[in-house]
Structures are given as structure tokens and as C-alpha cells.
Symmetry: C2
Subunit: 340 residues, 2 copies
């Protein structure tokens, strides 16, 4: 199934169902008014949604043309957003760029940060931020949405708790990260609101590409109209989504609608320095990684972070070249605070 | 006003209104079904709630005896839970106990961590955790619930966004903190679910005790039936709640129902080592602080963390000795994972 939330002047939007080819959309709010409410009562709601989805794909239910610009993030706000860092290659590069060793334990103990989830950005809305000086970056990722997950869940059981997948732009303020992490309490101001793909999909939609709790497809990032990255999200993912969920649930329950992110998708590409798209490589899912490679190679970074007016597009295509989740497509814009 | 959420077999509970003296309770779910929904539409809902509250206190509306054991945390789940560390004395002690200097900037730049908010513990429910080895501790705190707060809000405007106050038990797993913070991404497994007082109150209920965006009353913590702390929450609070909100909103909007915590309440008490209740002092709001003082004084801690079966009670009384928020009253219990 493919689900979306249309703007309807409420905080949580209206639950909609999108056809497999993303061509058509129909209302599903009579089954559950919002996606959160569907997730809250998934066992009851899921069969009804499935029936509607079949009818939508068969063309036997009233539908409209799908307009992604009318979408909220599938969950416009959520009760839990925890982001892993499963592509350890990315983490190793960060460390190497600043001349630090990465602890061996990072290969066995996932990094994960607690994100803010009260105000996600819509997939086609501008990223509105106060200052370019903060070092604005995108991070292209994959995320899952869980059902209720009990504390201490095993990896095997966690796999069965994955309800939906989405793409993420985990917007980061690189200039604020060093001071903030030095304080010892993790990210806060350096991780402003994230955005998610227009459409959330159930794992069965992904066919063979969903294996070992990883999504084996290239994640396409286009920066200012130019392809910037196409690393395969199934490759070099040290911790799969079931492992990330089990890590998150070690000392707590996770409740329906919890979002668990993969971290920036990154492929090792057989070289110490990765390889840009222009060099025939898989490219990157964030600017920071290019800058790290430049630093390791040249002694200093040369690619700048995002400026106001810059655009980023994040998408994933199936084997036949069709968009699975719809595209995140955003421009960075200056925030104008209200007059005091 | 005093608001609570009664268990009603839903995830968010039923919005209830509690009389000023905590003696009586009446339904308010006809005005807004849940506290989150009330906060989502506060400007419209607040006058109706106020009218009901007046009637409840006058005894002109149908009411029952208030039973705090029927309460969820006022927000059983929330979209945002960010916890400051406003009592810098506490932070300085942590550092000193491990022989580290505290950066000067900690007096001007608040520490804040992003907490998980999808599954708060009810104020009279057991704290259920997998292992005593994790170093189970309580942290008695005060928190505010905000309305919609725009990015870049000034301290002055932030003050006007405070809708409610609550008490918190920010349960912490001390044994997991050092390794987790060393990874650089902040708390995750070391900060399991928190619990909140049975009742959330509007600032006007606090009269003169609410000044300068601080709550000037002793916060009482009773550990295994013995008074453990009574530090004044208005004293030694380096950052007030308006400042904490402004810090949280620097690069993001905060949405209605965001919870911002004070961090462990701690008084300096005119000595380098604080002073226990038994010595006539104000005592402490967490076990870790006692252990730090023991470490500084004796070279090693002697007070143990919580064991299964231990109890903690957190409460605040008004000038006439009446409970303002009701008491958080919890026992620590071992979590039994489902059979795999």
C-alpha cells in the first residue's frame, strides 16, 4: 500500500491512498482520519485500507490525479523520531576528516540520536532557516515507521513491527554540530526539522528490493538540478532496520508511529575516498561527506554548504524507473522572524 | 486551571478537570477529548475550560472524588520532550566528581537534550526496566507545556507561550550514560520513559510562586518513604523556562504540547558539598548527586542506585501545605520480556 497525508487545515492532515504508479489518489479518511490513527489501530484498519488500495489500482473507486505538492510529510508530526547512523562508512569518514580514530565498537553498537518530531516539513515546502552561517546541509536517508514494539524486542520480532517505509531529508546545521556535541548532550539546535517523502509505502510494495530488512535500491539525490548521489541503500548498511529498532527498544517500548531512520546513506565504493558522480561513482547523500573527502584528499574542503535559494531533490526509483515514494523537493529559504 | 488525563482504554486518555484542592474531578472531554486536542486549539478551548473549572470549584457541576491512580501522565504521549539542565550547580558537581572542569559557557548557553516522548509512564505506574545493573535513578524536575512557539522566539514572547506546568520524574540509567555520551550522539538508551505528575496546572494557579518564569517552591522527593530532597525550584535556576524555550526554538518551531523540562532541581546550599536532609539541608533530587558529593568528599560513592522494589515520590506543596500537582509515586520493577 501507498499512503499519504494531504493538507486539510488540520495539524495531522487527511489520510489518503496513492496508487502503485503514483498516478491517482483517493480519500481514505473514512477508514482512519489520519495516518497516526491508522497506525494506532493497524490490525483493524489494515484490511480495510488494503481493500481500498486494490480498488484504487483497479480503477473502481473515485480518485483524482495525485498532487505531491498537496502532501504533508506522511506523519506531519510524530511521537518518536530516532535516527540511526547505519552506514558506518559515513561515520568513519567524519572521524578521519578530523584526524580521529573511530572506535571499533561502532561496527557492533549502532549510533542513534533522538530527533525532534513535533513539526516535520512537508516534502515540497521550503526549508526555512535563520542563517547560512549555520552550515545548512541535507542528508538523504531511508526510514521505517513501526507499530507497537515491546522493550527488549529481538531482531527477528522487530522485523515484523515494520509497517511503512519513507525517504527522509534529515536537515543538518553542520556549523552548530561541533560546539553542540562538545557539550555532551547530543544534537539539538544542529538538527532542525526533517522532511519525509510524499508517500509512505508498506514493505510488500518493494518486492525483492526489501531483503534482510534493508532497501536494496539506489537513493537519488539531486542538488541544484545536478545528480549528486545514487548510493545503494542496501549496500554498506552495517545495521539493518530490525537491528536499529531492537537498539532503540533496549530500555523502552516504542509506540505505533515511531519513525526510525537509517542515517545518511553512504557507499564505500572500493576506494578510501569514495567517488563523485562526475567521476563515475555513486556520489553522496550529503554535502558534509564530499567535504570530508576533500579534506582527507586536499587538506581542506572546497564544496560549500547550502545557500538560500539552493534546491535538493531526494527520490528512489524502482527497477522500471518509476518513483516509489514520490520526490522530496525543497528549496532553502531565509526565515524572517516576527517583529518582536 | 488543573487538568488531568484519565485512563479510558485509549492511547491519549480522557481530558478531565481537577478542582484546585485536588479533591474533585469532572469530565472535560466534551470540550476537548484529549489534552493534546485542547492544546492544539487552546485559544478556543481555554475559555470553555475556564468556565467548567469555575463551576467545578463552586460545586455546581457533576463531579467525582479525584483518584490519581486513574491518571495517565497529563500528555500520555507527546510530540516534543526536550529537557534542559538549568540548575548548573548540578552539572558542575557531575564534572567535579570526575575531576573535569565545567566550561564557562555552561553558565550562559543552556544544556538541553532531546528526549523520547511516545510512551510516558503514568504517575502511579511502576517504572519497569530490564536491569538493576543499568544504575536506575530518578530525577525530580519541573516542566512546562507550550503552545505554538515560532522559531527565533524572544525570551519575552516565550514567556507568553507557557500553557501548563507539571512535575517530572526523568528516569535515568546512570550506568549506560558514560558509554552512550562517549559515542557523541547524546542520551538514548540511558534515558528511558519519563513520568509526569497526575495534574498539569496553568501558571495563574501558582500565584506569587510563579515569578521570572521560575517556580519558587520546594520540590519534595521521598525515596523509600524517607524525605530525600526539598530544594527550591526557583533557586539556583540559571536559565528560566522562557530562556529554555527560546534556546529550544532557535532553529525550529515548537508545536503546541511541546514539553520543556528544567533538568534535575538542585540547590547550591552555600557549601561546596550541598547538604543532606539528615544534616538539615535541602537534600537532593536524584541519587547521582549524592554519589557525586560522596565522591568529592570521600573519594568514592557509597549510596547505591535504585533496586527493584524501591519507591520514589515527587510532589510540590503550596504555602498552605496542599499538593499542587498531585504526587508522582512509583516503584521500580523488573521488566519481563515476552518469550521470543
Amino acid at each position: 500500500m501507498k499512503l499519504a497525508s494531504y493538507h486539510n487545515n488540520t495539524r495531522d492532515g487527511q489520510l489518503m491512498m496513492v496508487s502503485r504508479d503514483l498516478g491517482r489518489i483517493c480519500d481514505a479518511s473514512d477508514i482512519a482520519p489520519t495516518l497516526q490513527q491508522a497506525l494506532d489501530d493497524w490490525d483493524n484498519v489494515e484490511p480495510k485500507l488494503q481493500q481500498r488500495y486494490d480498488a484504487l489500482n483497479d480503477g473502481t473507486v473515485l480518485s483524482q490525479i495525485f498532487e505531491p505538492e498537496r502532501c504533508h510529510s506522511p506523519l506531519p508530526r510524530a511521537y518518536q523520531w530516532a535516527d540511526g547512523s547505519a552506514y558506518v562508512n559515513h561515520v568513519e569518514l567524519v572521524r578521519r576528516a578530523r584526524g580521529a580514530e573511530m572506535p571499533e565498537s561502532f561496527w557492533t553498537d549502532p549510533l542513534m540520536y533522538q530527533g525532534g518530531s513535533d513539526d516535520f516539513i512537508a516534502p515540497r515546502a521550503d526549508i526555512v532557516l535563520p542563517s547560512e552561517e549555520h552550515g545548512i546541509d541535507f542528508e538523504a536517508e531511508v526510514a521505517v515507521v513501526t507499530g507497537d514494539v515491546p522493550m527488549g524486542v529481538t531482531e527477528e520480532k522487530a522485523a515484523g513491527n515494520i509497517r511503512l517505509l519513507m525517504l527522509v531529508n534529515d536537515v543538518s546545521l553542520r556549523g552548530l554540530i561541533p560546539q553542540e556535541l562538545a557539550k555532551g548532550f547530543g544534537f539539538f539546535q544542529s538538527k532542525p526539522a526533517s522532511s519525509f517523502s510524499p508517500v509512505a509505502v508498506t514493505p510488500d510494495e518493494l518486492g525483492d528490493c526489501w531483503q534482510d530488512n534493508k532497501l536494496h535500491l539506489p537513493l537519488l539525490t539531486t542538488y541544484n538540478g545536478k545528480l549528486f548521489g545514487r548510493p545503494n541503500a542496501g549496500k554498506d548498511m552495517t545495521f539493518n532496520f530490525a537491528q536499529l529498532i531492537a537498539h532503540a527498544a533496549k530500555t523502552r517500548h516504542l509506540k505505533a508511529g515511531a519513525i526510525i531512520g537509517s542515517g545518511t546513506v553512504s557507499n564505500k565504493q572500493g576506494t578510501d575516498f569514495g567517488s563523485a558522480i562526475a567521476d563515475g561513482g555513486a556520489g553522496y547523500s550529503c554535502i558534509a561527506e564530499v567535504r570530508m573527502i576533500e579534506t582527507i584528499r586536499d587538506g581542506r574542503p572546497s564544496t560549500e554548504f547550502m545557500k538560500f535559494g539552493d534546491t535538493v531533490r531526494i527520490e528512489m526509483l524502482d527497477a522500471s524507473g518509476r518513483s516509489i515514494f514520490g520526490a522530496i523537493e525543497q528549496k532553502v529559504r531565509r526565515f524572517e522572524a516576527e517583529a518582536p
